[in-house]
């Protein structure tokens, strides 16, 4: 209760500020658009400001109504249905994330087991974290498009590229985290590399894998959206954002933004679920 109550209060305050902000920002235009013969009292202006077609700042209620209309007012496979667009983005994000995580884990295993890789590759993995990787998205799309790869593959490649870094860095740390005593213990059993990995390194690394996965999941949605931008704005939430931006469709942009955020939270929620499950398996601790 002591946790929920403050959060709920802050959320409530946020919504109130949002509605107030919507009034302040939209009112000037709303007054201009109002029927000159109609009533011009405060409440009428508020009503108008909160229900504009192209508001500067839409209210949460408007965004929700709009999304509901798009989702339930269109056939499921109509491009106007936001759910379909979300599914496209989710497909990109999940495919890329899966690839990135697998690649990241294998790379980490290589780095932990090979001194040469550790010394020569690891500094570059760390450096590449400081590089704005998303900037290459348009180029990857164009380059892969030129060799005939279009659609899901180039987008998933970008997401994969983006999400493997946190996994590699986290897993290198995790696979190295057994302490000296645990390593000595395994040595007294004359443990071979393979068993050492299965019985000690991998289970210890789980505590590091899940935080990395959360970061990667959050990045994967960002990556998917950005990857959808240069494809000529065809499908996905990123394309909706871009189209909304071109045609000044405020509601479209907000709808895409909200759904993208929900998608990110859903992916993170799924990671949390996996974490929770493993935690249960281990008697309540990771």
């Amino acid at each position: 209760m002591t946790r929920i109550f403050p959060l709920a209060t802050v959320m409530l305050a946020l919504i109130i500020v949002w509605y107030a902000g919507a009034y302040v920002l939209n009112a000037p235009q709303a007054i201009n658009l109002m029927d000159p013969d109609g009533p011009h009292n405060f409440w009428a202006v508020v009503q108008a400001a909160w229900n504009m077609d192209r508001p500067v700042l839409p209210t949460p209620g408007q965004i929700a109504t709009n999304l509901a209309a798009s989702i339930f007012g269109n056939p499921l496979f109509s491009p106007r249905n936001f759910l379909l667009q979300t599914a496209y983005t989710a497909e990109t994000a999940v495919t890329g994330l899966a690839g990135g995580v697998v690649l990241g884990i294998f790379l980490a295993i290589g780095i932990v087991h090979s001194r040469v890789l550790d010394r020569s590759l690891m500094p570059w993995v760390i450096t590449s974290q400081t590089i704005p990787i998303l900037a290459i998205a348009p180029m990857v799309v164009v380059a892969l498009g030129n060799i005939g790869l279009t659609g899901l593959v180039p987008k998933a490649a970008i997401v994969g590229y983006l999400s493997f870094f946190p996994v590699t860095v986290g897993m290198v740390k995790g696979l190295r985290s057994p302490d000296a005593m645990q390593m000595d213990l395994m040595r007294t059993y004359n443990t071979k590399k393979m068993s050492l990995f299965v019985k000690l390194r991998w289970p210890v690394a789980m505590a590091f894998l899940f935080p990395s996965l959360r970061v990667a999941a959050s990045l994967s949605v960002t990556g998917a959206i950005v990857a959808e931008l240069p494809t000529g704005a065809q499908v996905g939430l990123g394309a909706r954002l871009l189209a909304g931006s071109y045609y000044g469709q405020t509601m479209m942009m907000w709808g895409a933004l909200v759904l993208a955020s929900l998608l990110a939270l859903a992916l993170i929620g799924m990671v949390r679920l996996g974490e929770f499950w493993l935690c249960q398996q281990r008697g309540g601790r990771l």
Binding site: T2, R3, P6, L7, A8, T9, V10, M11, L14, V56, R115, V116, D118, R119, S120, L121, M122, P123, W124, T127, Q129, T130, I131, P132, I133, L134, A135, I136, A137, P138, M139, V141, V142, A143, N146, R214, S218, V221, T222, I225, V226, L229, P230, L237, G238, L241, L242, G244, S245, G248, T250, M253, W254, A256, L257, A260, S261, A264, L265, I268
Partner: protein, 309 residues
Amino acid sequence: MNGMALGTMACTTACILGLLARLLIGTSWALPLALLALAASIWASVRLARQNDRLSMIASPVIFGLTILWAWEMLVVGLHVPFILLPPPSAIALALVTHFGELANDFDQTVLHAVLAGYAIGCGGGFLIALAIDRSLFLQRGLTPLANMISAMPIIGIAPIAIEWFGFDWPSKAAVVVLMTIFPMLVNTRAGLQQTNPMEQDLMRSYGAGYIHTLIKLRLPAALPMIFNALKLNTTLAMIGAIVAEFFGTPTRGMGFRISVEAARMNLDIVWATIAIAALAGSSSFALIGWAERRITSWHPSFHTRSLS
């Protein structure tokens, strides 16, 4: 002979062979020379990776990086990979020189304006909010989970809305950067301010130190490592935010603009040149902050254990 000398020799051999192979590309000599050069440089990195001195620790990744660059050049030129798929490093270097004016202009627009302004406001704002809610447990409990949640969302999507609000020029990009950097800073500063243990706080209380004194003398210094973490994380986020925000619309300059336009025109050498500049800017500001951190928090115990391990 020791590993160091062998490594250096192999490295020199690789350089000479590599250069020869590059010059003779197109003749039947190129392939065997290239393979020899590759073998020599791989052998050099393996040798150097076994050494434990400082020089080898640096040389090993550098040789690895150079080998990749060189192999890239040889493969692209030797196999006639189409320019629009992957330009050779030499072409990228050339583009850096011939388009210098343009690229410098982009750098000014994106990094010196959007990133710098947004980063300063975002980091400063996050820090100040963290301090402001320091005395209210209620606000901390309400705001911290919210900030955590928001930093996990694809904030970059706010870019087109920022353009509607702040116009096409750099302020809208700076606004995106502010939103991307403020929450990580807030979360990290909060975590940092909670680093001190009750015993240290009791010590300060025994000196009769008040809230302000305890904050300045004890809690802020203890929070510095976490704050520096956020500063580092935010450099990357700021660069990404500014560049990607430009994909949604910008006046005709800026690194994101350059990347999207030249990629569409198939001028991939200019795209790569811009990315190289972005990479350099990103990693050098990262290094700068790392250097400042070492100077400022070298006394911190967390730093000691980290530098030892």
